[in-house]
Homo-oligomer: 198 residues x 2
DNA sequence: GAGTAAGCGGAACCATGTCCCGTTTGACGA
DNA sequence: TCGTCAAACGGGACATGGTTCCGCTTACTC
């Protein structure tokens, strides 16, 4: 599952061995740089760290979003797969939703600048936004529907808005010790709860 | 109250008439550009619109934050002043808090890119962040304290976190019809409510 | 009306994203 | 093993946008 280029899917794999090696090297370099300088680090820095020219980055990852997606794909997948599992093992759907959102928040707040990149309307990041949505929105919707069906929460907020809200709340959560995104997200999810049956 | 340079405070007023005129012109131009291109619009665009050189902008407004603050100062002041008034005229402190937050959200979502600029950690925007905090945090704290004192909400969230949360939720609220920041903020404030006395 | 310094404009400089082009090199058939 | 050649490479060129510098203009003072 970690040799993403080989075989399945419509992704064409590079023919030359050095190309594949460079792609790996770039992924490692990018991951390292993202940790220290955030996901908006200069392209040249990543290229330098990997010991390649800038064009090589663009050849393998046409947009920055492609690079970010490639670096975090496994973790996003893991988050997506955790959804149904949580639903199955949690006492109630609302608890499952809360746990899953916590997972998502933990992922986001540890990736310097990722939450901001997700929400920015700069060109070139729609792909990133779209990827996250594509991968996580169905999971979120499933949890939300289950919680709504059980009557625990008000049924009138769609998954998209919840995901955006959570993502937004995570912006800048690192780099500001006074701000606790988990807390705020917790309040937001609490606000979802059905006041009571009248 | 609209000739901000004259007289009071420690703000030095430009001596020459053309300088004062240019400052006004720049404020008008910036306000117009902000509406169409957002608060991150290129400096050259604003200068061009005002018919001045770029250096003139930097002479009057050393950082972009200074310009943004100058453009929106009146509206921020109005929002700050509305706080105590709402507290006095609303049925309960929690209602006052909700109304005030709505006011703030309405302000933010109509200023393209302002919420994002407030939260970005790019250098040069700390001043902006600081100004908003300086002006609005005390008001928010007053409302929050009143609501906590009345027992309507849990008392353990400070005003800073609330403001950041609200600000964050407003990011990108324009430019995405599927996302309704007012709604999400409403849920957040609802989540603040005391569950019940046990 | 002349002197002077505040203020001005725009060119210059720097950082960064993006693209192009001449060169290198891995893959493969002879 | 060696020759061929297109894939892949590197780094320089270009575009954009923020910031600063410098020679010129002009509003104020006397």
């Amino acid at each position: 599952m970690d040799d993403s280029d080989r075989g399945a899917g419509q992704a064409a794999r590079p023919k030359r061995a050095d190309a594949r090696r460079n792609k790996e090297t770039l992924l490692d370099a990018a991951a390292a740089i993202f940790v220290t300088s955030g996901v908006e680090a200069p392209v040249r820095d990543i290229a330098a760290k990997a010991g390649v020219g800038t064009a090589t980055i663009y050849r393998h990852f046409p947009t920055r979003a492609d690079l970010i997606i490639a670096v975090y794909r496994h973790q996003v997948d893991a988050c997506a797969e955790a959804g149904p599992a949580l639903l199955a093992t949690s006492p109630t759907p609302h608890v499952a939703l809360g746990r899953w959102v916590d997972l998502f928040v933990d992922f986001l707040v540890t990736k310097h600048g990722l939450a901001a990149a997700l929400q920015t309307d700069n060109a070139g990041f729609e792909t990133l936004h779209a990827y996250f949505l594509d991968r996580l929105l169905p999971v979120c919707a499933q949890l939300l529907d289950a919680a709504a069906a059980s009557g625990e929460i008000r049924p009138d907020l769609n998954a998209y808005q919840l995901m955006r809200g959570v993502g937004n709340l995570c912006i800048g959560a690192d780099s500001d010790p006074r701000y606790d995104a988990r807390r705020l997200v917790g309040l937001l999810v609490a606000g979802l709860r059905q006041p009571r049956e009248p």
